[in-house]
Amino acid sequence: MSTDSNTKYVGKAPSRVEGPLKVTGQAKYSAEFSVPDLVYGYVVSSPVAKGKIRKIHADKILALPGVIQVFSHENVPTLAWFDRSYKDDVAPGGSPFRPLHDDEIKFSQQPVALVVAETFELARYAASVLEIEYEQEKHATDVEALREKGQEPGSGKTGYKPPVRRGNADKGLSKAEHRIKQEYIHGTQHHNPMEIFGATVHYHPDGKLTVYDKTQGVYNCQQYLKKVFGLSADKARVVNLFMGGGFGAGLRPQYELFLSVLAALELKRSIRLSLTRQQMFSLGHRPHTVQTVELGTGPGGELLGLKHKAVHETSRFEEYTENVVNWSGMLYQCPDVHLEYEVVPLDVFTPLDMRAPGAATGSIGLEVAMDEMAYEAGIDPLEFRRRNYADRDQNEDKPFSSKKLREVYDEGARRFGWDQRKMEPRSMREGNKLVGWGMAGGVWDASMQKAAAKASITADGKLTVSSAAGENGTGTYTVMTQIAAETLGLPMEAVTAKLGDTTLPEAPVQGGSWTAATVGSAVKSVCEALGEKLLKLAQKMDDSPLKGAKPEDVEFVNGLIRLRKEPRQSVVLRDVLQVSGEREIEADSSVMPNPLNMQKYSMHAHNAVFVEVQVDEDLGTIHVTRVVNVVAAGRIINQKTARSQVLGSVVWGISMALMEETVMDHRYGRYMNHNYAEYHVPVNADVRDIEVHFVEEEDPHVNPLGVKGIGEVGLLGVAAAITNAVYHATGKRVRSLPLTIDKLL
């Protein structure tokens, strides 16, 4: 790919390539593939949070004509025995939940049986009348009540970083002129993508399976099937071409995969299984978290000490971890830092990464505390952050590979008009409403993983690039198409990108905001490899002007291969293909992060969010009237899909701040608002002006493309900025989210 700024596609704003398929209904989701002779499954969920299944009275419903089988722990065949067989790529430590494994109930809504019938309606009805006797045991689900039982995790899951300590925070704080110490809480949240988790398993006559499953990682699911059911790779093809939202919910194989494959293998039939919206609340969640933050500043507003502790729940069987507090040791300069992180095992399902896991939580605690500290010290909140700018990652004691957060602050403040802000709370009004301006920000990992890709070009000049990554709706197909077209000088229409299929080269789960960097780099690499092959073929042509040229001497532009130094010396790519006599030319490649650069640099994306709220103080209603979110995330490959990602994050931030919470009734250990009517996320009327801007960074160290990923960073700081704006409007500091009407009255 040309690395100069004269790109044709990269960095521009092409529309998503799969858009027409989606708006015409041709994009197929996992539970809607047409397969002949389907049977249907329906999951029965436990009404109790802890206990034992005493008896399942399956006979009565098996007698119903059309009911085929009731799967439960009573009749599940012997499967893999060891825990490690059930561990997926992103499993935390512990013993993964095995559906229908034994009579033990570990959490409310645990799947306890699968009813299979000839029609969906019959399966659903039979499930509703299936009689099951339970032996109930005492459960514990309240993390706030049991926070003292928290313990620092053992090893944690991949990517977990133990809490950082440096200097002596208590000593630092004791020297401070101004100090604050506060507690911040937010409730449980569930990912709740629009598309329900579901699978269609096609049982082929030769016993092979094609598994259409809703997942963010087809290889992760295939590995699971191989280990749990002892299937070979060619017997278990896993496919997921499109996704109606994942947000982390599809990182781990969910139980619809296990149950549908189990039934298909046992019955030797194709099966479809969809969870219900209510059952979506039986999947992983962002944990209910209690945070304490303590800050102290010196005479110039410099941070002298910082303490941040977080406690949240995990399940009894797995030790879920996320990085909640470490960002606080990195975002601002501070010599004396003490971070603590604990989890409390409870009778709930294991939490699961949800957009910007840990950072979304930690940035609420830290960034609201920073606002409180700014007010305590009498310094403008943005100026306060500038004064404590971290030029170096103090956690790792490394330089940043790039960091333009100062420019982000400047750009955000200018576009928002921050200099017009009056510091005093309750000092701004519009009509009878109080107006508040608040800001906050965040930091997120710029990650890259190992991935493979394949490219092939046919004689008619059509290029196909493929990698088994996923398309969460983020724009991966489009970004792959752009990079491939750019690298080989083809129009985007000549490129087809393929994703989400275990017959394609291996790629990691779609998460961590690493897909553009990972799959993008793999596509770039494989297209360059293909380019080298094409160059060799071009050089074999009679009178080729490219004879003797090295790959770095040529460029692929507008369907030509030409010399960089003498652009008029070129051959037409299509002629090369035709003359070569080959029907198709292929290349494979794989990429991995550069370990030297990773050792040398701290690689992170940053953002800052500026928010205006209007508050009707009498009625406690809050409207977020304006949001400016500025993001520095390296190079932006697609301005349009990147902006859409951040827009979605802002909407989610509004949701976190004002409405989103899964509420548990601890008497039952059960989430009670488990439907879309009572689990609130914003509607159009809740969302007003949102501006998104990127401060682009040239970063030669982070990865070959210089991208940092924007899936998650955009969410950071939004909820904190809203909370801070509400304080500015009303003078009332709410430290428990969501900030619903009752908390402001």
């Binding site: 309606e121 409207h623 008497r667 009670m672 439907n675 009327a685 009407i741």
Partner: protein
């Protein structure tokens, strides 16, 4: 959801007959609530009598100068009906404050009256609920009851009626026309829904097999001075935490006639005639409004997580009365929702 049979009735008589001829029958209009209840195993009708073919979808004037809203006219058609908008903008606004356009396009007027509570425990068969399973207990008492009632509750139920439309109908003194196996009768709106007492399984006073044929509005529509104020957790597609319907008739600054009803606070739309009486003959001032608000909530009882509703309801009443007196909401305002 259990298997069921469905017939589509061609006349009201046929519908009533069909209902009476089946075990566990239920009428179905738009189905926007009943189908959910069936899918969640809360309702188990064996037979459904479809009503959408009945000639009950018109909206027409009555001889008394009022307006008759057909039972099967959709909420959307009713809210956007020219005469409703001009003469009963309070009703129009209340309907448009509820649900979503898609739901309002399906939901019928009679169905709106018949919708059941949104109590979390009522919908979750893993928990006890006296309304769903009489005698099993009320899990909302002592539980998560943020959306529950503060007025007219009993030891067996603290559920609310979720409708917006019905709050306006209560304020407007609508009359419900019904027909059943024993003939037809009319029910005053205030007598239509009931308080839970010791029989929360009964939401209203309809007798078995009775079918709503229309909802009649009297002539007076309070089109000049009205307000529908709805407070909720998001700005659309959420049930009311508290809503207030107000209709005033003013003589200068003196209140000649007042109607005041609340939603989201009780097992039925909560009309308070005593509070209305306190308003009548008084100047339309904040002091007057406060007095009325205090009176409405005098007997209110919080259940824990819904305690805030008592103060919120008072403030909402004052705000809605203020808006109505000022003529702030206009008949032409139906496009904007009634949020503050």
């Amino acid at each position: 959801m259990n298997p069921f049979t469905l017939t589509r009735a061609a006349s009201v008589d046929a519908a009533v007959r069909d209902f009476s001829g089946h075990e566990a029958a239920a009428y179905i209009g738009g189905g926007t609530n009943l189908l959910d209840l069936m899918k969640e195993n809360v309702a188990h009708p064996q037979h459904l009598v479809g009503l959408n073919k009945l000639p009950l979808s018109s909206i027409e004037s009555t001889t008394g100068g009022g307006l008759r809203l057909g039972a099967t006219a959709t909420n959307a058609d009713t809210a956007w009906h020219a005469e409703v908008q001009q003469r009963y903008p309070l009703l129009s606004q209340a309907i448009l404050a509820g649900a979503s356009p898609q739901l309002r396009n399906m939901a019928t007027n009679a169905g709106n009256l018949m919708q059941r509570t949104r109590c979390y425990y009522f919908y979750d068969t893993a928990t006890p609920c006296n309304k769903r399973e009489p005698g099993s207990g009320c899990a909302a008492i002592g539980g998560y009851n943020r959306i529950h009632a503060i007025l007219g509750t009993s030891d067996s139920c603290i559920a609310t009626h979720p409708s917006d439309m019905c709050v306006a109908l209560a304020a407007l003194e609508a009359v419900v026309q019904v027909q059943g196996p024993d003939g037809s009768r009319q029910i005053k709106f205030e007598d239509f829904h009931r308080l839970p007492e010791d029989a929360p399984e009964r939401d209203n006073t309809l007798q078995a097999g009775e079918l709503i044929t229309s909802i009649d509005l009297p002539a007076q529509g309070f089109a000049e001075n009205f307000a529908y104020l709805k407070l909720r957790d998001r700005q659309s597609y959420a049930f009311a935490l508290v809503s207030v319907a107000v209709g005033l008739e003013l003589d200068g600054n003196t209140i000649k006639e007042a109607r005041l009803a609340l939603g989201g606070v009780a097992h039925k739309p909560w009309r308070d005639k005593a509070a209305e009486h306190l308003l009548k003959g008084q100047p339309a001032t904040e002091a007057t409004f406060r007095k009325a608000a205090e009176a409405v909530l005098k007997e209110a009882k919080g259940q824990g997580t819904n305690d805030f509703k008592i103060e919120l309801a008072k403030r909402a009443i004052v705000r809605a009365l203020t808006q109505a007196a000022a003529g702030e909401q206009k008949a032409s305002d139906v496009f904007t929702n009634s949020n503050p």
